[in-house]
């Protein structure tokens, strides 16, 4: 018992809560492979690893990149609030193409060996490109064949630059210049370095939560929870007297236990999830109420206190089990069908129900057994009050 509580405390201390994006703020993006593209398993794995590398280059702490279904990727970027930046980083296909004067692609970004930030001859930001062995040949062919004509540099279908080819370039080096800010240039370097996505991806959902909203939600729900719990403690204490106080201690243990388990299993805490915890406190009381009412009945039937407690727990148990399992069924369905915040709610609700069964059946029981030895008369009195008359 004590060990469990200490463990719960240690877990909360060592692994603080994993807050969902709705609470800590950040950008959530859902991408789907373009309809025209073939989203093979291999391609999608490529998409995930390239997006991962781009994000790492961005320096986001604890990003989440995961596949959903066969054609989708979910990206979560905590702490990022610039939506445009997120879209550019995650959503860009980053296919660089060099086109000949007829508009055919002569070579593309897959032949790049090295990409670097540089400056043009006017000191403006530019991007230095270096091709690999095959790329050197293709680039030499292009520049030899179309000497005196123009080549177009295209990124994701958008023309970056049109350049006059003055002489053949045989060493495989090129520079993209013109009209870029240093940030844009740096961003493009990252995209080109990590290569293009094997499948073009469309952004089908973006959710961006600012840093203040999450904080506000946490403090609001904390206050709601705190007041709610105090009212419950007062109600149970006044209604059930001594046994009620014991149930209240059990309820506080329950809260510590739930928070400990949630932090131990690394559950992601979302706003609906917090509501789930608060709700589960209200429902956790139910098991105690069921047991106490049973004990009262047994006492009213003339049983001695000890055997009344024994019988009360035993008979209430099946009720508690049946009624909680049905709620667990809904929680499980929510977990498998829901996404994001709803899933967080399912986890906290499920953990809450299991923990409440445990505390009511074992912890409250332990307290009652301990106290019944010391204060048998008070207990007996408090368990024989306030019953509704049977009709």
């Amino acid at each position: 018992m004590v060990a469990i509580l200490i463990a719960a405390g240690v877990f909360m201390y060592t692994s603080p809560f994993n807050l969902g994006l709705d609470l800590k703020g950040g950008v959530h993006v859902v991408l789907e492979a373009d309809e025209s593209a073939e989203a093979t398993n291999e391609n999608m794995t490529g998409v995930v690893s390239i997006i991962e590398r781009r994000i790492n280059a961005l320096g986001v702490s604890e990003p989440l990149i995961q596949r959903q279904g066969s054609r989708r990727v979910i990206v979560e970027l905590p702490g990022i609030h610039d939506q445009q930046q997120a879209i550019d980083t995650v959503g860009a296909t980053a296919l660089l193409e060099f086109k000949d004067p007829q508009g055919n692609t002569a070579l593309d970004g897959s032949y790049l060996k090295n990409v670097q930030l540089g400056t043009d001859r006017y000191g403006q930001p530019a991007i230095d490109l270096e091709f690999d062995r095959e790329g050197v040949q293709l680039f030499a062919q292009l520049t030899t064949r179309y000497q005196g004509q123009a080549t177009t540099i295209v990124l994701d279908g958008e023309v970056l630059q049109t350049v006059m080819i003055r002489e053949p370039i045989l060493e495989g080096k090129a520079q993209i210049t013109g009209g870029m800010t240093i940030e844009e240039a740096r961003h493009m370097v990252v995209l080109l370095q990590e290569g293009s996505l094997p499948v073009p991806m469309n952004i089908i959902e973006i959710r961006n939560v600012g840093p203040t909203l999450g904080q506000d939600s946490i403090s609001r729900s904390f206050r709601a929870g705190l007041i709610g719990v105090i009212l419950i403690l007062a109600f149970i204490g006044i209604y059930y007297k001594l046994p009620g106080l014991l149930a209240n201690v059990a309820l506080l243990i329950y809260i510590v236990l739930v928070l400990g388990i949630l932090s131990a299993i690394d559950a992601v805490l979302t706003l609906p999830g917090i509501a789930g915890i608060i709700l589960s406190v209200g429902m956790a009381v139910d098991a105690n109420v069921l047991i106490f009412e049973r004990i009262k009945e047994e006492v009213a039937d003339g049983k001695r206190l000890r055997s009344a407690i024994e019988a009360g727990f035993n008979r209430a148990f099946t009720t508690i089990l049946d009624s909680n399992i049905t709620t667990l069924i809904s929680a499980a369905v929510l977990f498998f069908v829901g996404t994001g915040g709803v899933r967080g709610f399912a986890v906290t609700l499920g953990v809450g129900i299991l923990a409440s069964m445990f505390t009511a059946v074992f912890v409250t029981r332990l307290f009652l057994d301990l106290v019944v030895d010391r204060r048998p008369d008070t207990m007996a009195k408090h368990f024989s009050m306030g019953r509704f008359k049977r009709s």
């Binding site: 609001r220 149970i236 809904s330 009709s391």
Partner: protein, 286 residues
């Protein structure tokens, strides 16, 4: 208290409420949020307090060529915080709108931006329906196994009763329905069953003890024996839910309101509908 005596007016009352709820679901129907329909939600805070007309005007001016007349603008918890719900916007448009707000209303803070494509919304509708149907079937199966099919059927009828009332309430009040709403409906579903089970559990137990007294006495005794529990549990659950409604703010208020309606309806149906309905069925059988 005699719960069974007034069963006819109770059934009539419940029937009317449920019929009205279904009617409200058809006209005016649920106010589906962007999670379901696709679209954009912008929540912003500015230095100055705003009116909805002001927000609309600035938004229209910032996006010439876009028809945003179908947008919904709402002032949030504070007079300088507002929410815009509109069609799916491109990021360039959002940036233009934000710049206009910043210029005209001062120090813009971005609270939340959601852009949801239509595909996601359709999937959410499908998933929500699957979730509710699978839960109901799972519960039906479990209760049929632990009790018998009549208890299970009545429990599911009560569950639908409660869920329909929550849906009807949201339809008639025009509150927006989003994905957390699905979670609250499923919680109502679990809670409703939970209450009904406690009553049925007692009926089942008393049935073994006393066979001769007739269903009316059996059901009424069982309800009275579990009355204190039903009452106390509803009070403790309602205490926290009401606190969530009062202090939760806009983000969680609707979620908590759905729970509030559901728990009230669940308490009522488990006391006045479930037992008497089961009894009526059993007496017909004879």
């Amino acid at each position: 208290m005699n719960f069974v005596r007034y069963r006819k007016p109770v059934f009539l009352f419940s029937g009317i409420i449920v019929a009205l709820s279904i009617l409200f679901l058809i006209v005016p129907g649920l106010n589906l949020g962007v999670d379901f329909t696709g679209g954009t939600i912008l929540e912003r805070q500015t230095a100055r307090n705003v009116t909805t007309d002001q927000v609309r005007r600035i938004m229209d001016e910032a996006t010439p060529g876009l028809d945003l007349s179908g947008s919904v603008v709402q002032i949030l918890d504070k007079p300088n915080e507002f929410m815009i719900r509109t069609r799916e916007l491109r990021n360039a448009d959002i940036i233009a709108i934000d710049q206009a707000f910043d210029a005209q209303l001062g120090s813009l803070v971005e609270l939340r931006t959601d852009v949801v494509g239509p595909v996601i919304g359709q999937e959410l509708v499908r998933n929500a329906l699957i979730a509710i149907i699978v839960s109901a079937l799972g519960i039906l199966a479990y209760i049929s196994w632990r009790f018998e099919y009549r208890f299970a059927t009545v429990a599911v009828v009560c569950l639908l009763h409660d869920v329909l009332i929550v849906l009807g309430f949201f339809a008639i009040t025009g509150r927006e329905v989003n994905s957390p709403f699905v979670a609250s409906v499923l919680t109502v579903l679990g809670y409703s069953i939970n209450n009904t089970i406690v009553v049925f559990d007692r009926i089942r137990e008393n049935m073994r003890l006393t066979r001769k007294q007739g269903y009316e006495v059996l059901v009424n005794n069982s309800l009275n024996q579990t009355l204190t529990r039903s009452f106390n549990t509803s009070i403790t659950t309602l205490l926290v839910i009401v606190m969530l409604v009062i202090f939760g703010g806009s983000a969680i208020g609707d979620f908590a309101t759905a729970l509030l309606i559901g728990v009230l309806s669940g308490t009522y149906s488990s006391l006045f509908v479930a037992g008497p309905l089961w009894m009526t069925w059993m007496e017909r059988k004879k």
